[in-house]
């Protein structure tokens, strides 16, 4: 789950998770200084990145984990960790603040991780249509844009189903290159 700060990623995860979303942390040290811009805080040598996640047991031996990506660009080292082995990504967007999700979309395109864009409605209201969002984000036609409600278990479940269906379609069409 990616998206701008405060768009509802943790709420989205919490809506379907069988446990309260947990938080794991990674300590970024000087080793990742090339990624983290420490220029503004010259005395700081470590940073902690927190990441929320939830769990869904789908079968006796099948557990789906939902990770909310840390929002800030400088924490992309965590994203690299998440992308390997990931089924796909949901980019959660608030259509009033679309620019917040540009970095996530660029990142997933670059990483060749299939993603869909889920518009999070507020009180059931969607201020923009799927087509407006698609155009504003310059999304290729094959990337699904769906409506969701991060507070609703059914809406979140249906968004996840759409994602996995899309991933299967992409895999069937492009084979292993995606």
């Amino acid at each position: 789950m990616a998206g701008g700060f405060g768009v509802g990623k943790t709420t989205f995860v919490g809506a379907v998770s069988e446990i309260l979303p947990l938080t794991t942390e990674a300590v970024m040290t000087d080793a990742s200084a090339g990624i983290d811009d420490l220029g503004l805080t010259p005395n700081k040598t470590t940073t902690t990145v927190a990441m929320d996640f939830g769990r869904l047991s789908l079968d006796q031996d099948l557990i789906l984990y939902l990770f909310g990506t840390p929002g800030q660009h400088r924490f992309w080292f965590m994203w690299d960790d998440l992308v390997r082995g990931a089924i796909g990504a949901v980019v959660l967007v608030d259509s009033r603040r679309l620019a917040d999700c540009f970095p996530a979309i660029d990142y997933f395109e670059e990483a060749q991780l299939p993603f869909l864009v889920a518009m999070n409605g507020w009180e059931g209201q969607f201020l923009h249509s799927e087509e407006e969002v698609r155009e504003a984000l310059s999304l290729p036609p094959h990337v699904p844009v769906v409506r969701t409600d991060a507070r609703s278990r059914d809406a979140v479940k249906s968004t996840l189903i759409s994602l996995v269906e899309y991933v299967l379609t992409v895999r069937a069409a492009y084979g292993r290159s995606f």
Binding site: V16, L22, T23, T24, D52, I63, G85, L160
Partner: protein, 146 residues
């Protein structure tokens, strides 16, 4: 390492420790004064090593390979905590979160424990770095059944 490894499974999650593992006002029974101290100290339990001996996915599942009757007291506290926690299968990320220890640190400890036969690690089924089709189909039908 006071406070780092004595977490009960699934402690109440509140806003205070959603952020940076801050103190949990509900857990008065387990005082954890050191939790907000230096972020570097956790690596002391790995002897300063930051690279695990095997690559461990965040979602890799870990289960305890020790029996309930086995004397774990010879193990370090963090290893005891992991053995106990993993009597039920848990991911690397869950172990990190529940014990409130950074991901990089638990990865080193779990990889060591796996090498010594204390835990079993079940890595995700990947096909060229991606979940294989069979796995995707199972996830899809699992989600539909929810």
């Amino acid at each position: 390492m006071a406070g780092g490894w004595n977490g009960e499974p699934y402690p109440p999650v509140d806003d205070a420790h959603r952020h940076y593992g801050g103190t949990n006002p509900g857990a008065a029974a387990s005082p954890a004064p050191a939790e907000q101290s230096s972020l570097v100290r956790p690596y002391a339990v790995t002897g300063g090593r930051t690279a695990p001996r095997m690559q461990l996915a965040m979602e890799a599942l870990v289960s305890s390979a020790t029996s309930v009757h086995q004397d774990l007291s010879i193990l370090t506290p963090e290893r005891q905590a992991i053995c106990q926690l993993c009597r039920q299968v848990r991911s690397v990320a869950e172990i990190s979160a529940l014990l409130r220890v950074p991901l990089g640190v638990v990865r080193v400890v779990i990889a060591d424990m796996a090498a010594e036969g204390l835990v079993q690690v079940h890595q995700p089924q990947l096909d060229a770095g991606k979940p294989d089709l069979n796995l995707l189909e199972r996830v899809l039908s699992g989600l539909r059944r929810l």
